[in-house]
């Protein structure tokens, strides 16, 4: 009987911090097992060897911020059977999408003495704004167990079991006292997708939205709640406008807080 071909995996990087692809290398106990069932065909951070596409699964990290990358993502899509975005940059534009609220030319002038050498698009945009995406894995950074779950699901032809409910559910499950009703610090938990196992609340800290908006988030209501509790518009703007600033629900709420 012919030996079954191992599925080919590629990892692509756009504008990002490398943290989400590092999550794959951080699977210390599972890495060699993963390499046993998948052919890691294109992963420049880990290997100089490149196996030609097409690829069965492409993991895409980072956002689109240059015209060159806006072209390159189409090549990635064409060479990928399944395309999965990993992390807040790829899924919502990332922290670098803070430029979307300002004039990028001013930004280049602030950082670089010769801004003419710098080529950048006016906006940092998520991958799904450019090509069809099969699955979006959230997080800044993604959780490695969620990454293994998604890879396992696609390898076995089933739906990934990634909950889209809020951080509140995880908080309740862990028995953490709710900060919203107990004078805790500002928290985005009610409108943020689960996945971190309520990490910040478990460290006596409010959620700051690493996993982006949950399914059907009522951001206006949460904004008003914090407003009633004495938060200024400026503070609310900063809270909603961080690592997932350009995700629709967070963007709209931060814009209503502009003065």
């Amino acid at each position: 009987m012919a030996k079954k071909r191992k599925p080919k995996l590629a990892v692509w990087k756009f504008a990002s911090c490398d943290g989400c692809q590092l999550s794959l290398l951080d699977c210390e106990e599972e890495l060699l097992d993963v390499a046993g069932v998948i052919d890691i065909a294109n992963f420049p951070e880990a290997s100089r060897a490149v196996v030609r596409g097409p690829y069965d699964i492409s993991l895409v990290e980072g956002s689109i911020t240059t015209s060159h990358d806006a072209e390159r993502i189409h090549q990635v899509r064409r060479s990928s059977r399944v395309l999965i975005t990993i992390g807040a940059c790829a899924t919502s534009g990332g922290i670098q999408a803070l430029r979307n609220f300002k004039d990028v030319k001013d930004f280049a002038t602030i950082v670089y003495p010769n801004p003419l050498y710098i080529e950048a698009l006016a906006k940092s945009t998520p991958i799904a704004d450019h090509v069809a995406v099969d699955f979006q894995l959230r997080g800044c950074p993604i959780g490695k167990h969620q990454l293994l779950e998604v890879l396992g699901a696609y390898l076995n032809g089933r739906k990934p079991n990634i909950p889209t409910y809020s951080v509140c559910v995880e908080c309740k499950r862990r028995g953490i006292v709710c900060g919203l009703v107990s004078h805790g610090p500002p928290c985005l938990g009610p409108v943020t997708q689960a996945g971190c196992d309520a990490l910040c609340p478990s460290y006596h800290r409010g959620c700051f939205g690493c996993f982006g908006p949950k399914e059907t988030p009522n951001t206006a209501s949460l904004g008003n709640w914090w407003s009633m509790r004495g938060m200024q518009n400026r503070e609310l703007l900063l809270l909603f406008r961080s690592f997932n600033a350009y995700a629709d629900a967070f963007r709209r709420e931060s814009e209503t807080r502009e003065e």
Binding site: L22, I95, Y112, Y117
Partner: protein, 442 residues
């Protein structure tokens, strides 16, 4: 002999050629190499950084001082703790805050975790495959499974430290200006004792193993720059010193170092005024602070015949292993002596001013400077990551390397050049805030 066997191939007498690598592998981020040789001499050597610019210093303007540790952590997923540490030290300096010694130790422990994780990643997954002649650690693992498995075990312990103290290994959430959100209890930290002892022993083995590699002869009289602390191997604090007479406080950094912007790079290149290229990172720290290493780290280095000065950047892999021994020993000491601080955070009162912070990221000194409004808003930020500081030294190494190995065939020379870049463990994501190799021989 090893290198001669690997690079001994057919001698080429081509006077004009180009070596180019459009996407350098096994580094963090997107960089390239371009080397042009004309009439047998290197005309151009560019370590290019095409990683897109992300403009951190621009969007930090208008943010609150308290957000800087979490925002700047996103510059780099490999060394987020370094960004958190440099930013909190800068803020605390601006506000005149000093933390409880026990909080200080806990920060040092978190940083040790990052050093262990980052050094193990580079030694085993990114750099060792070059010396053993593999494209990557996965193919290396088929022949040397024990080496890769031990490396992953070591890396895992670093991540365990970061997870326990910082909340998670990538972009920890527990660090804040003035201290932490929550401090671990003495009992919680004790679970790290056994893993750290195991990691220390694995790191000692790694020093012995890496020191037996046959390294290319490639010495150079570099100016090494690192922090120096009165009685510790440097992590969070110290004066900036070099082997050529530099001895300044962190506040004076910008009077001595300037950043230049070149066309082939989306990262600014840093130079010492009127002196040029300098070298930061493990080799610099080791050469300038050998006497501050912990006992087992120093003994292990000496028995591997590694004592300063070490001026061969290829031996960075051994120095990283020595520093990993240090980080395990130091982490173990902190865990064993730990007493829970009475409060997780000291009181912070913001005020207008300028704050300076410089700490030792795994790859070298990371400088932050913030101008702050009296309401705590950041008016202006400057961040100089280690890779931007090493860029010039890397390009100078490439010129010397291509001249030394001009007889190699293109594919061997290209690999050798890539390796010379990886000696520095460059982090391109950091620097743009890295690299394309093209070797051009007409």
């Amino acid at each position: 002999m090893h290198t001669q066997m690997r690079f001994g191939g057919r001698v080429r007498h081509v006077r004009n050629r180009t070596i180019r690598v459009d996407y350098l592998a096994r580094v963090e981020g997107e960089g390239s190499l371009y080397i042009k040789i004309k009439d047998g001499a290197v005309k151009e050597a560019e370590f290019g950084i095409f990683e897109p610019p992300r403009f951190f210093e621009a969007f930090l303007r208008g943010r609150n001082y308290s957000e800087a540790p979490d925002i700047t952590a996103r510059i780099c997923g490999i060394c987020p703790v370094a960004y958190q540490m440099s930013s909190i030290h800068a803020m605390e300096q601006a506000f005149g805050v000093s933390v409880d010694p026990r909080l200080r130790s806990l920060r040092r422990l978190l940083y040790c975790g990052e050093w262990i994780e980052s050094h193990a990643l580079h030694i085993f997954l990114l750099h060792a495959p070059d010396f053993l002649g593999y494209e990557d650690a996965i193919s290396m693992a088929r022949v040397h499974p024990d080496v890769v498995k031990k490396g992953l075990q070591l890396k895992k312990v670093g991540n365990e430290v970061m997870t326990l103290v910082g909340g998670r290994e990538i972009h920890p959430i527990n660090v804040r200006v003035g201290g932490f959100y929550k401090v671990p209890s003495k009992k919680e930290l004790q679970v790290l004792v056994e893993p750290l002892k195991r990691a220390r022993d694995l790191a000692v083995e790694t020093v012995s193993w890496t020191s037996k590699i046959e390294f290319p002869e490639f010495e150079h009289d570099y100016e090494f720059v690192a922090l120096r602390h009165p009685d510790e191997y440097p992590l969070n604090e110290g004066r900036l010193v070099s082997n050529k007479g530099l001895d300044i406080s962190v506040i004076e950094y910008e009077q001595y170092f300037v950043e230049e912007h070149v066309r082939h790079s989306n990262a600014l290149q840093s130079v010492l005024k009127e002196r040029g290229a300098y070298f930061v990172g493990p080799l610099a720290r080791f050469n300038l602070n050998f006497d501050r290493l912990t006992p087992i780290a120093r003994e292990t280095a000496s028995s591997a015949k590694m004592t300063p000065p070490c001026t061969n950047p290829f031996k960075g892999i051994v120095v990283r292993a020595i520093e990993t021994v240090f980080a395990c020993e130091e982490a173990l000491r902190i865990v064993e002596e730990y007493e829970e601080p009475k409060q997780s955070v000291v009181s912070v009162v913001h005020r207008a001013g300028v704050g300076y912070g410089c700490t030792e990221a795994p790859r070298g000194i990371l400088y932050h400077r913030y101008h702050l409004h009296e309401n705590g808003t950041i008016l202006d930020a400057k961040i100089v990551p280690p890779t931007a500081q090493n860029q010039k030294a890397i390009e100078a190494d490439l010129v010397r390397l291509v001249q030394q190995y001009a007889s190699l065939a293109d594919d061997k020379l290209t690999w050798q050049c890539e390796q010379a870049v990886r000696n520095y463990d460059p982090c391109i994501s950091c620097a743009t805030h890295f690299l394309r190799l093209d070797v051009e021989r007409d």
